[in-house]
Symmetry: C2
Subunit: 309 residues, 2 copies
């Protein structure tokens, strides 16, 4: 696949994802004119200090002028406001995409505002860390990770191919599905895990019988794993919860049902049921490692980092 | 603290923990005679092939003869059987300890069988990975991790000090608490996280709307974190669930209550409640990193390993 070129790229939002895209675009030389826009003056200044782009503006409307590719990387709840701000200034033939973790909601928010003369192609790179902000981004974030597109009917194939080539250049593997299915898939592989992690950390924080300092002190015995996801950006995750409500509630219901079954097995001392589940889950871990979606090193390989202290 | 010496050490059980102890004992030269015992002939052979000890026997009773330090590293449900096997052969003045994740149950199982002329000191090194068996052990596993003792009333202080010196030599930090409190603390920092991880992986595995291959493929967006804990040893974790029932059921009840609250906030679109929790949990992550109980590198630092593939 050839590396695509754009005369001008506009990034709306410059957090972990936006700033990682900016770093890749610069390193790969995908455009001669990278315009960065974010609402927060402070964040915009920081992006400039980090030399993430060629130009900087707090106006999204200003940023998208004459841009051939516009990438919206904001919390999903802000999608409609951004669409309204940029709509009138979009260049004829521009590709407009996003990176949001929910797709049906983003489409509902943005599509009605997109003029006919642009290619609006919703996308979602499945990549990230628990850190946020322009300093958190890095090149390589998207390498070997999936980028899922949920194109609307009648999407221009050439525009879609060009956008796919862009993400492929950033190291992503490409997939396509309809927005509703995307939202169900992400509800189980991403949204439920984050919600559960936030919840267990909250539960631990609220205990009276075990102090917070004990929880922190002894966290390496399992708990600390959850605190990573539970350290993710609160605004982003509030918006995900509110904008993929139905799929998340469905997964939460199933999770709770399964947990009640497990809880009952513990109460009644049904060791066989526990053993069956605990054996089955082991196989899934192996499949994930075989699929190249996690490291095989024990403890995520952090032991090596642990002992460097 | 001086490095303690033992004429003979017997390890009953040679899994992840037992074999890590064996490797440390050899490396540090803590004894001239390390006897390894495990029920499984296959595992015993493997331990011998790995040269983990000086002598090997499938009989725990045989192994403990003349040992000054006996460390029982078996699934907690096997504690009573081991105690019965070794009781008659224990040397006068020997220290007998264990590494079990539950303490009240282990004491109830072992203490009645321990002769008066030995020092039975229950212990729990809070260390491990998701791997199991004699190949999974390594030196450094206990470094900077806590080892909690739950001594019985009238425990001999000199024996306790010697055992503490042993674990300190292995790199552990030492703590002491009563068994009931230990079991509550571990229920929240270790047992609940593992049960929740097993459960969510089970839920994902059972879905009809999202295929298993999709779950695996897209697991890097959060789900994969849980699969690590859910790949832990099924026998060990079945036993933990059965032997710390009350504390686990209490924590599960609180977790489910909190999850219902969160679920309701999602259903009713109460963004403020979500944002409040998601912000509070971030602070706990920071405290854990400050306490040296996790690495600060994004994504547990596995990105570096990820991209080496």
């Amino acid at each position: 696949m050839t590396i695509p070129q754009f005369e001008r790229i506009a990034l709306i939002g410059i957090g972990l994802i936006g700033s990682s895209i900016a770093r890749e675009v610069k390193e790969l030389g995908l455009t001669g004119d990278l315009v960065i826009s974010t609402r927060s003056t402070e964040t915009l200044k920081r992006a400039e200090a980090l030399q993430l782009g060629d130009r900087y503006t707090s106006s999204a409307a200003e940023a998208v002028k004459d841009a051939d590719l516009v990438i919206v990387s904001v919390p999903v709840g802000a999608s409609e406001a951004v669409a309204q701000q940029i709509a009138a200034n979009l260049k004829r033939g521009a590709i407009v995409t996003d990176v949001g973790s929910t797709k049906a909601s983003v489409i509902a928010q943005m599509a009605p505002h997109m003029p006919d003369h642009v290619h609006f192609i919703p996308g979602h790179p499945l990549a990230g860390t628990e850190k946020s902000g322009p300093d958190a981004g890095f090149t390589g974030l998207f390498r070997d990770r999936w980028c899922i597109f949920t194109p609307l009917p009648n999407t221009d194939q050439a525009a879609l191919d060009k956008l796919k080539a862009f993400w492929t250049a950033l190291g992503s593997r490409i997939d396509e599905m309809d927005p509703e299915h995307h939202d169900k898939v992400l509800a189980i592989v991403s949204h439920l895990p984050h919600i559960i992690a936030y919840n267990i950390v909250g539960t631990a924080d609220d205990l009276e019988t075990v102090t917070e300092s004990e929880v922190i002190k002894y966290s390496a015995s399992g708990f600390r794993d959850f605190t990573r996801l539970a350290a993710s950006d609160p605004t982003m995750w509030r918006d995900v919860c509110l904008h993929n409500k139905d799929a998340i509630l469905e997964m939460l219901a199933r999770f709770s049902e399964d947990l009640a079954y497990l809880q009952r097995a513990i109460r009644w001392g049904e060791g066989d049921k526990l053993f069956e589940l605990f054996t089955r889950t082991r196989a899934i871990r192996r499949s994930i490692i075989q699929a190249g979606q996690d490291v095989d090193a024990p403890d995520f390989g952090r032991h090596a980092l642990d002992t460097k202290k």
